[in-house]
Amino acid sequence: MLKSHLALFPLLAIVTLVLLLPFLLPWSYDQIDWDAVRAPAFSGSHLFGTDEIGRDRLARLAAGTRITLMVAVAAALVSLIVGIAWGATAGWIGGRVDEAMMRIVDGLYALPFMFIVILLMVVFGRSILLVFVGIGLVEWLTMARVVRGQVMALKQRPFILAAEAAGTPSTVILLRHILPNIAGVALAYLMLTVPQVVMVESFLSFLGLGVQEPLTSLGILVKEGADDMDMTPLGLALPGGLLVVILVCLTIEGERLRDRFS
């Protein structure tokens, strides 16, 4: 059991570290050390050195990871709630309502959502709330489809019909019979949504359209690192490497859960 969840360990380690580090490090993520600009790794109190303005790399890494993960979880929850609500409604009501709702999903599936989110940000300004909601809206379609499929399949299962014959009211059927039976699949897809959302957030931040100063995220750190990579490759390697590790672990774990519940 332990071995099969191997991918969770690096994730848990990272999460613990980024939560604890602010209390352990002498430098915060936006503090400038005027004496040590572009300091290499292991110089004094800067474990990974400083960036081109003199900010401690490790502190920025921890802060950026925190923000990225926070946004990712929030956005994934948005997509979960919207997706379940849409999919369960379509699946439960069925008939023409379901067809209409799923046609909309199919139509939206084809769109370059990323661009639409960017469009919205251009129009309405860059607030952190918009980042959560916008990113969440990119990913709800898959959840809606999966939940709708599950609910439709369950609706025809004899134990639901038996509950109806037993006089159980519809709301109780939904709560006590249907929801527990889709929880597993929903959770699995939630796990898979998180890396997608991390990608989206980092992508937006890389382009300068996501999280804004003074906050930082892994995407911003990668952009800064890329701009500066001819001078200090570490600035790119650290956030880039960490991002990849997080994504790989989340994907492996998510796929394992998905295979278990399918």
């Binding site: 019909l161 037993a166 006089g167």
Partner: protein, 515 residues
């Protein structure tokens, strides 16, 4: 020398011996049938020697003099190419979906090395297995054909290269009941015509009776008894065989003794159900039309028919879990409204039992809660203590011990799960049970026990039963009268034995032949 012979054959998967010490013979032009419950090892037995399962077969296996046990995988593949043909259970998935019927039949004809067949030859092969419009079919994809048609294509493909041995693994189990007799007759004809040896596997003794020359009975990976089919059935030596023969509903067995019915309880008049076509297409699909039946107190009525006959639709409409678009249902003279308009009291009068016992129980709920569910809503006057008491009583009525209260559905066998479903159905003391193919998914022994239980409940509690099934022999054990349906209409009705002795409608005759 027999065409195909096994002596002390065993099949091992990942170190576990799943089949032990099997001996059987198949003679050219004759049929040997292997019969047993699921898990008895019959499929492994007939397919493993030819390398078609993940199991490794050992022992003596001789086909036309070739020792399969000593043969390498290339040699066995060669045997499959030239000497054997196979028919599998699920015609829906056994054909390649992206190749036309003609392409696949051509591949089958040429597999032993013959020259490319002409279109006429291929069409003739399809005609021989009973397919109409053969030339059209050659260009069709498998999903355009019905289940019965696909099975015929499989049979044509299996014999296209003139094999010596035909192996059929449950060839009729997934087919509509009215087709089963036809397919078995077709196999008999082909066997005689081409001098094929037929090795047949089935879980249903009744379907092989009259077609098999030799019978092999298996249970849990071992052969229990074997010999000439007629003899084994008429005079079984082993206890298991005796129980299996007794459990299998056959029309030749003596008629049951049933309780006497009372007043008229339920009537339907001109009941009809129509569904909208899926998508935005116009028009409706008529699943049921003009159905008028009558049921008395303490009586059991059988509703038999093939799939698509409308029997489930009728049952669900009566049970209040399916729609009604025309006609009316009367309960003791008063109107019984349809599904959503039924009051709780009315719901308590009729309860359903479904085909797949495990799917009819919520996998996350304990048995105790499952059985008590109707009490919560249909009898709100009861206290919790009352409910617990009535749940216990329901369980004991279906012969399940109290320890089952905390079990989860996944830990139950098919027979036990169906008993739980029946306990749930009777816990609130209904007057009518609607049983939709309630024994069809069960093994013969478990199914026979359920039928006995139902007869007992009917006698003790005066329950009326609506028994929906494709198996008229099973219905006969339980029911006073029968109604035969086809394509949404009632085509014949009457006293059970009367209809069996003098069927008037072709649909009825087919169903009787299948038993």
């Amino acid at each position: 020398m027999s065409l195909y012979e096994n002596r002390n054959m065993a099949v091992t998967i990942a170190g576990n011996r799943l089949v032990e010490d099997v001996s059987l013979k198949v003679e050219a032009g004759h049929c040997t049938a292997i019969v047993g419950a699921s898990g008895s090892g019959k499929s492994l037995t007939c397919l493993s020697p030819f390398g078609l399962t993940s199991g490794v077969a050992s022992g003596t296996m001789l086909l036309d003099g070739i020792d399969l046990g000593r043969a390498g995988s290339d040699q066995i593949r060669d045997v499959r190419r030239r000497l054997t043909g196979f028919i599998f259970q699920q015609p829906l998935t056994a054909l390649t979906p992206h190749l036309t019927v003609g392409t696949q039949l051509q591949e089958a004809t040429m597999q032993a090395g013959s020259a490319r067949p002409s279109r006429r030859e291929l069409a003739r092969k399809l005609e021989r297995v009973g397919l109409s419009r053969a030339d059209e079919r050659l260009d069709q994809f498998p999903h355009r054909l019905s289940g019965g048609e696909r099975q015929r294509v499989m049979i044509a493909a299996a014999i296209a290269h003139d094999p010596r041995l035909l192996v059929a693994d449950e060839p009729t189990s997934a087919l509509d009941a009215s087709l089963r007799a036809e397919i078995m007759v077709l196999l008999d004809e082909l066997r005689a015509e081409k001098g094929l040896g037929l090795l047949l596997v089935s879980h249903d003794l009744a379907s092989v009776e009259g077609h098999a020359d030799q019978l092999v009975v298996m249970d849990r990976g071992a052969v229990v008894e074997r010999g000439p089919a007629r003899q084994v059935i008429a005079d079984p030596e082993e206890d298991y065989t005796r129980r299996l023969v007794a459990a299998t509903p056959r029309l030749q067995e003596p008629a049951p003794v049933l309780s006497r019915p009372g007043q008229i309880l339920l009537e339907t008049r001109g009941l009809g159900v129509a569904f909208d076509r899926p998508g935005w297409r116009r028009g409706k699909i008529r699943a049921l039309a003009d159905a008028s039946i009558m049921l008395r107190q303490g009586e059991s009525l059988a509703i038999v028919g093939g799939s698509g006959s409308g029997k489930s639709t009728l049952g669900r409409a009566i049970a209040g879990i399916g729609p009604v678009t025309e006609g009316e249902i009367l309960w003791q003279g008063a109107a019984l409204p349809e599904r959503r308009n039924r009051s709780l009291e009315m719901r308590g009068l009729v309860q359903p039992v479904f085909q797949d016992p495990v799917a009819s129980l919520d996998p996350h709920w304990q048995v105790g809660d499952i059985v008590a569910e109707p009490l919560r809503y249909l009898r709100p006057d009861l206290t919790q203590a009352d409910r617990i008491e009535m749940t216990r009583r329901a369980l004991s009525d279906v012969d399940l011990a109290e320890e089952f209260l905390t079990r989860l559905p996944a830990s139950l066998s098919g027979g036990q799960a169906q008993r739980v479903a029946i306990a749930r159905a009777i816990v609130a003391s209904p007057q009518l049970l609607v049983l939709d193919e309630a024994t069809s998914a069960l093994d013969p022994l478990a199914g026979a026990e359920i039928l006995k239980l139902l007869v007992r409940l009917q006698g003790e509690n005066g329950l009326s039963l609506l028994f929906i099934s494709h198996d008229i022999a099973a219905a006969r054990r339980l029911c006073h009268r029968v109604v035969v349906m086809e394509e949404g209409l009632i085509v014949e009705a009457g006293e059970m034995q009367e209809v069996i002795d003098h069927p008037r409608y072709p649909a009825t005759q087919k169903l009787i032949a299948a038993s």
